[in-house]
């Protein structure tokens, strides 16, 4: 069903949704970016259309709403374990097609990979409704079209929204919400549109042509000299799902404390370190190679699509100006031309 809202009507809709949902959207925070006087575009709670940042890409994705940076798994006291409690909050997340598709990647790891579902991810994920922001122009570093993540199927969103000069047009796909939309707006015909060409295109290398020489190629040695293993490409990536588990002890006598998990990144020191100090990927270039292969090959071998959605955030945040799309294209050329 399609609807059209004036700005006022849309704000009334948000007000009514706010009664039941925590509404998250990209927002602009003035001069809050860590390394400059720039504004920080990030996810936060919103109550009105005016708070939503629609002209710039967010530095971080919405993944932390469902996969928090630090999350308590359980508390323990005197030998008993108590699963960390959960709120009754329900969420609406405004996000672009690439970021919606990124959640499909997270779903694969947390809900399908291995013998069990990740209950912490699941209990948050089940309470999320996606409002997809129409994106037909993208940004400079985007390559979602090459990664086949520029479009979203209608079953993957509750609403699809086109933000216009004087209002919002949208499609609603969710019985829970249809009444609220109908109450505020007039019905129209609506057909979602998607970006069909980015400024950047990547050629995904042919997996059958991957040889051992590719792993040893000097391409990776060059990254060893440039990458500083800061892990910003991991934290900004909407599909990076790795974590480390740690304990804290509040009181040694009562044996009370908590076990929590925290985001981990394959570029960061210690990710593969074993007892005795042995590291499986010491060189930073090997970490770049590992991440690249994971994002465009390994994940796709287990599931039916690649992990990277081409959002370009890793390029945007890298302090060493390492570009992931350039890396993919260099790799392609090397593979096509034969090593």
């Amino acid at each position: 069903m399609g609807f059209n809202f004036s700005k006022n009507e849309f704000n009334q809709l948000l007000e009514s949704l706010d009664q039941e949902y925590q509404i998250y959207a990209p927002v602009r925070k003035k001069k809050k970016d860590s390394f400059s006087a720039n504004d920080l575009i990030t996810y936060d709670l919103v109550k009105s259309l005016e708070e939503i940042e629609l002209t710039a890409k967010s530095k971080y994705s919405a993944k932390e709403i469902v996969f928090p940076i630090r999350e308590t798994l359980f508390h323990f006291v005197e030998g008993e374990q108590f699963m960390a409690s959960d709120t009754d909050d329900k969420y609406i997340i405004f996000l672009r097609p690439c970021d919606r598709n990124a959640f499909k990647r997270l779903d694969k790891i947390f809900l399908e990979n291995g013998p069990e579902e990740d209950i912490y991810y699941k209990r948050l994920r089940e309470k999320v409704k996606f409002f997809v922001i129409e994106c037909t122009t993208g940004f400079d570093s985007c390559f979602c079209v090459s990664m086949d993540s520029n479009t979203v199927e209608s079953r993957d969103y509750s609403a699809f929204l086109r933000f216009e000069e004087d209002g919002v047009s949208c499609e609603v796909n969710d019985q829970d919400l249809a009444a609220e939309f109908e109450a505020q707006a007039k019905e129209i015909d609506f057909e979602p549109e998607f970006i069909r060409k980015n400024k950047i295109e990547v050629n995904l290398p042919d997996r059958d042509k991957l040889t051992n020489e590719v792993f040893e190629h000097q391409l990776w040695t060059e990254y060893s000299q440039r990458c500083i293993a800061c892990g910003r490409c991991n934290t900004s990536c909407p599909t990076c799902s790795c974590f480390t588990v740690k304990d804290v002890l509040y009181d040694e006598n009562k044996k009370s404390g908590e076990r929590f998990r925290r985001w981990a990144g394959c570029h960061i020191d210690g990710f593969t370190e074993m007892a005795g100090g042995h590291n499986f990927r010491e060189e930073y270039g090997d970490r770049m190679r590992y991440k690249t292969m994971h994002k465009i090959y390994d994940f796709g071998e287990r599931f039916d699509f690649d992990m990277c959605v081409g959002c370009g955030r890793c390029d945007d945040v890298c302090p060493e100006y390492i570009s992931f799309s350039k890396c993919i294209n260099k790799l392609s050329t090397i593979i096509e031309e034969g090593v």
Binding site: M83, S85, I109, N113, T244, D247, E252, K255
Partner: protein
């Protein structure tokens, strides 16, 4: 941060309490803990073992029956130090079992050779015990175990018992002090194994990465095909559930797809 939350039975991250029934000192830094257990286990699987407050670690089950299981733990850090201070009657916290383990059907009626370096003996010990009790299910069975020195010899009481039933070749890297058996690196002794009928032989290699690498080269030189070689890998692990990502090598998650692999399938994979 309310402590009133429900305790869910389906939460794979919660662990269960297990009482320590007996402790055996193996070496200065390695102890075997026998724990009460109702886990259904396969040879070579591992558990996530913890003392809440001190961390959690993947540890191989080094032997098991229906009533108990054993863990052989080397003291290397925060959690393992704490575990070594525990006594009989204390508790460890366990979840699992994880990993595929060794499928005995791959070895039934074959000549089985197990080459293990140091603590690599832990993940194969339950398989060795099974073989020892069921020698009629193998056409030949032999174990080659390498240790740094006499001080690092593991499972001494078992080895003496096993030797009554099948050959256990011991090698010592540095000195000659294990029962006067003095033979150098494990790789130098692979040629002495019973390898006459290679077609009908399966080889399991477990140990530190360099030991595995060079032992496999020796077996290859003697004509053992890659698909008759089996390995068990160790990687950093934080979940055992295929979620945390630390153990991944290419498209393999060692915690769920391994730790046991047929070498032909993994010889090309790169960390």
């Amino acid at each position: 941060m309310a402590l009133t939350a429900e305790k869910s039975l389906k939460n794979p991250y919660l662990s269960q309490k297990a009482e320590i029934l007996e402790i055996f000192q193996e070496t200065e830094i390695e102890y075997t803990f026998r724990l009460e257990s109702d886990f259904e286990l396969n040879f070579g699987q591992f558990l996530e073992v913890s003392i809440p407050g001190y961390g959690e670690a993947p540890i191989s089950v080094s032997n098991f029956t229906d009533q108990w299981l054993e863990l052989t733990i080397r003291e290397v850090g925060k959690l393992t130090d704490k575990i070594h201070n525990l006594e009989t009657g204390d508790f460890l916290y366990l979840r699992g079992p994880y990993g595929n383990g060794f499928d005995f059907e791959n070895y039934r009626d074959k000549n089985l050779i197990i080459a293990a370096g140091g603590t690599g003996l832990a993940p194969v010990r339950s398989l060795i015990e099974y073989a020892n009790n069921n020698l009629d299910q193998l056409s030949d069975f032999e174990v080659l175990a390498g240790f740094k020195d006499a001080g690092s010899l593991l499972f001494e009481r078992d080895i003496n018992r096993w030797r009554q039933n099948f050959d256990v070749l011991l090698t010592v890297d540095k000195t000659c002090d294990i029962w006067g058996e003095c033979v150098g690196l494990i790789t130098e002794h692979i040629a002495e194994l019973h390898l006459a009928d290679i077609e009908n032989t399966e080889v399991i290699v477990v140990g530190p990465p360099p030991m595995m690498k060079y032992s496999i080269i020796e077996f290859q030189k003697l004509g053992v095909p890659d698909d008759q070689i089996w390995v068990s890998y160790e990687r950093k692990m934080h979940c055992g559930l295929g979620k945390c990502g630390h153990c991944k090598i290419e498209d393999n998650y060692v915690c769920i797809d391994g730790p046991v692999y047929n070498y032909a399938e993994v010889k090309e994979i790169r960390d």
